[in-house]
């Protein structure tokens, strides 16, 4: 694990110098600049809407960036055989995967700092210019929501790496990751719904077991969603934050370790 930094650095530079990166930032800037107008489409709670909107745009752009760069970074190396040049150096397969992931994680952090900065400025501007006396931005929760969003994107990036480590095509890796994202966003809610039940609805115990199994296998991405708490200023128990953080780090660890394990057995002809 001694060559992580050079791999992480060139990966970070690759992301930073990609046209998609700048394209998305321009789109983000346009969306953030329209926050003021969009917020006023709502009759009340203008500041809450602005915070929700700002975090939503950050989340959306961050997601597109992670999905696109995550699949591209590994796939390009494999398709263009750039990986031959890297692995011909004293770089182990594990170094390569962890270094690449570290580079992508740096891109995600960098993007979230910039996007979060845009969202903060947009929300703050709405807060300043509005007469909404109940609208207060809860900055610590706002920051927490951004941090957890960053962790969620890193988790998603690790899932992309896992699929890319054995998938034969970029589209397959991207498709599988999208499926995981959709399941991850809703599995907690579905499990909760099935467990609490609804009047007059009979739920098959087998189906309940399948959903419970999926809950433990697939990443529970809802655990990282603190957007509503940030918008409404709701208190967030410390235990929830710690649990989500540890869960995210653990899941990333499992995905990256598995990717490295698969990669060590892969041939590059």
């Amino acid at each position: 694990m001694t060559h992580l930094w050079p791999i992480a650095k060139i990966t970070f530079l690759e992301g930073l110098r990609s046209r998609v990166f700048f394209g998305l930032f321009i789109v983000a800037l346009l969306l953030f600049s329209s926050t003021y107008t969009l917020s006023y489409l709502f009759p009340r709670d203008v500041v809450k809407v602005a915070v929700d909107l700002g975090l939503g745009i950050t989340s959306l752009i961050g997601l597109i960036l992670t999905l696109f760069l995550g699949t591209q970074l590994l796939a390009k190396d494999l398709e263009q055989r750039t990986i031959h040049m890297v692995l011909a150096k004293a770089v182990s397969r594990s170094d390569y995967i962890v270094g690449k992931f570290a580079g992508l994680a740096m891109i995600i952090v960098c993007s979230m700092v910039v996007l979060g900065g845009f969202a903060s400025v947009a929300s703050w501007t709405v807060d300043r210019l509005t007469a909404d006396q109940y609208g207060v931005i809860h900055w610590p929760i706002f920051l927490l929501a951004l941090l957890m969003m960053t962790l969620m994107l890193m988790l998603l990036a690790s899932v992309i790496f896992f699929f890319s480590s054995f998938a034969s095509s970029t589209f397959l890796a991207l498709g599988l990751t999208l499926v995981i994202y959709l399941i991850g966003q809703s599995v907690e809610e579905l499990k909760h719904f099935l467990e609490t039940g609804a009047e007059g609805v009979v739920i098959s115990p087998v189906f309940l077991k399948i959903v419970t199994g999926a809950y433990y296998i697939f990443p529970n991405l809802a655990a990282f969603n603190f957007k509503a708490q940030a918008a409404h200023g709701l208190a967030v128990p410390l235990a929830d934050v710690v649990w989500s953080f540890l869960y995210g780090v653990f899941y990333i660890g499992v995905m990256i370790t598995s990717s490295a394990w698969i990669f060590r057995r892969r041939e590059f002809s």
């Binding site: 001694t2 060559h3 930094w5 050079p6 791999i7 650095k9 060139i10 530079l13 690759e14 110098r17 990609s18 263009q80 055989r81 750039t82 031959h84 040049m85 890297v86 692995l87 011909a88 150096k89 004293a90 770089v91 182990s92 170094d95 041939e267 590059f268 002809s269």
Partner: protein, 319 residues
């Protein structure tokens, strides 16, 4: 670094009965490398010859641990190829190299140096000297995506050499280069030889191999058909003579009636090809024409002849 200053000689590259059979759906059962055994001592330039698809690149990828042998094993500098650390003493130039095109040559060499364990000052020193050597000094801060194919190849050479490797593996290093680029590459290979490095390069450009190598190995259909010193391959008795005379073919023919010889004309000169035993007779018959004799060259099998012979032999012997 001078060869004499190095430690005891060891085999830099060893293939020990290496076989690679592909098992994927499209290539199932195809034997790419078939029981290849070969050892290359330190300081030797070894030319790995073979037609396209013969298994040259597969053998190189086995050496770099990019693909794994089905049977046998390969060693680099006495260590198994799976040992990551040994590659800090190896340089590799892939065929038609693709590098991160968002990087500049300077950044590319920084990456190569760092991953080989070099310190910052050593990387700077090597970068300055190598970019000068491959004539990329003026574009050292220009992105690789703006480079021509030849420039990319030269950047690849610099990357392969940044760690001052003991073993340099070059996969078709001359392909895609213009005459100047080829001469530069040949000079670099000679310089590596002078510095006591081991150079293993694959090629199907026979002239380059003939010009540079100490030994050659000819691989056909995955099987190593022949390994021999270049001197041994080429130091065989002449099979005939080629005489060039400043005269018309009709004049030459009139002097050589009854003697077995072949004639061709080129720019006012007539080329006479004859076998060894008839040389004295031909020279005798030419008589007065001897004054117009431009040259008399013994004809020996070239590397190309030997290469083609081995391909024919493989076609006959191998399925």
């Amino acid at each position: 670094m001078c060869y004499a200053n190095r430690g005891p000689l060891v085999d830099s590259i060893i293939f020990d009965n290496v076989t690679k059979t592909y098992s994927s759906q499209s290539t199932a059962g195809r034997v790419a490398v078939d029981h290849v055994s070969l050892s290359i001592p330190q300081g030797e330039i070894f030319g790995f010859l073979g037609p396209n698809g013969a298994g040259k690149s597969t053998a190189i990828k086995i050496l770099l641990n990019l693909i794994f042998p089905t049977a046998g094993h390969a060693l680099l500098l006495g260590k198994p190829v799976a040992d990551t650390a040994v590659r800090s003493r190896v340089g590799y130039l892939p065929e038609s190299p693709n590098f991160y095109d968002h990087l500049t040559p300077e950044e590319l060499l920084w990456f190569g140096g760092k991953t080989s364990g070099l310190g910052a000052s050593r990387i700077k020193e090597r970068t300055d000297s190598l970019l000068g050597l491959v004539d990329l000094g003026r574009v050292r801060r220009q992105r690789l995506r703006t480079f021509s194919k030849g420039m990319i190849q030269r950047a690849g050479v610099a990357l392969a050499l940044v760690n001052d490797p003991d073993v340099v593996i070059l996969d078709e290093p001359m392909s895609g280069l213009d005459p100047l680029g080829r001469r530069l590459m040949a000079d670099i290979i000679r310089r590596l030889k002078h510095d006591g490095k081991t150079v293993f390069f694959s090629s199907h450009i026979l002239h380059d191999v003939e010009d540079l190598c100490d030994r050659v190995g000819i691989i056909v259909k995955g099987r190593l058909m022949r390994v021999a010193g270049l001197a041994d391959v080429l130091s065989v008795p002449a099979t005939g003579w080629c005489l060039i005379v400043r005269a018309t073919p009709e004049t030459v023919q009139s002097h050589l009636i009854g003697v077995a010889a072949a004639y061709t004309t080129r720019g006012g000169l007539t080329e006479i090809k004859t076998v060894e035993k008839d040389l004295a007779r031909v020279l005798d018959r030419l008589g007065a024409l001897k004054e117009d004799l431009v040259s008399a060259i013994p004809v020996r099998p070239t590397l190309e002849d030997i290469f083609l012979q081995e391909i024919e032999r493989a076609d006959g012997e191998l399925p």
